[in-house]
Subunit: 102 residues, 4 copies
Amino acid sequence: MTLKRLLTWRAKTKNFRGVKLITEYIEAALGRAKYEIIEDEEPYYGEIPELEGVWANGKTLEECRHNLAEVIDGWLVVRLKRGLPIPPIGEHRVEELKRLEV
Amino acid sequence: MTLKRLLTWRAKTKNFRGVKLITEYIEAALGRAKYEIIEDEEPYYGEIPELEGVWANGKTLEECRHNLAEVIDGWLVVRLKRGLPIPPIGEHRVEELKRLEV
Amino acid sequence: MTLKRLLTWRAKTKNFRGVKLITEYIEAALGRAKYEIIEDEEPYYGEIPELEGVWANGKTLEECRHNLAEVIDGWLVVRLKRGLPIPPIGEHRVEELKRLEV
Amino acid sequence: MTLKRLLTWRAKTKNFRGVKLITEYIEAALGRAKYEIIEDEEPYYGEIPELEGVWANGKTLEECRHNLAEVIDGWLVVRLKRGLPIPPIGEHRVEELKRLEV
């Protein structure tokens, strides 16, 4: 633990304490999921209405939920890396906090 | 659920099924955390040795862990948005899967 | 942390490490849930075929799942307290491990 | 779904809707955990102060938390099956609801 690290990340981390940006976004998104039973060999279908194109299905509802969590997660990586907008889910946003720029 | 969505995300999601990229990375990182007791008003200190500059402290060990989870999370947002490298944690990587490019 | 505690629970906990009996049973039960749509003001209906009488419904599939998780949970309390048998779900059993008798 | 089941469990489940007795108790107990770093080959030690004799340790804090969750879980099975008292954790109690007696 060098002084340099103390000076840099200390300043930064103080600012976003209290917010697990990505983790809470994923949980909030899953909480908005709408599930249906469709005619398919994997009949449980779930989507996040706020997130265009984010959906999954599965042979059981649990499998569908699990797959949907994976899709949200991978979708976030793509959106973040490409600088594409990430719609807010309620009050949850995944943004580089401006205050972090020390 | 339009056909277009079926054709685009269906193709994509099939490819990264089985991997919660970000969620598993954060869990793996927390699993590598090293904690110690330092002289400080928040004496519990934890860091992820593999992730330079990622550390946190707290008044209790559990508070320290909570803060560390937040730091990893916010650190990932910054790294992803800026296109900075994200060191692998064991086998866990946060990368836009090449196979996703359909 | 007294020596007595070390001698008693230490011996015991060593034996069931690796098994979250109740938590894993509930998860396994939810994984077996069968859902269907019925004519009802709460049309989503789910049951655990292995567990006689364990079912729930809801206005949405996700509400139904939530209610079903609650029913399994409360059902377990009743079965455990009354010493009634708890059917295995796959390999998952909720039993006082014999090895715990030190 | 027979009428009998409707008459029995319907009556019962209506009463404890909204409470995942065991699941919420375990989560609440974990939230009360106090962790320390001790001199041991598994140096992370955690206990639930309200639950006499419930403790665990591990080589990492994550492992310690995982083990502690298992201990709480197995401890609950023993307490329930033997009819031993289960101390409340905040407002969380694991009791067969009186209202369930139909």
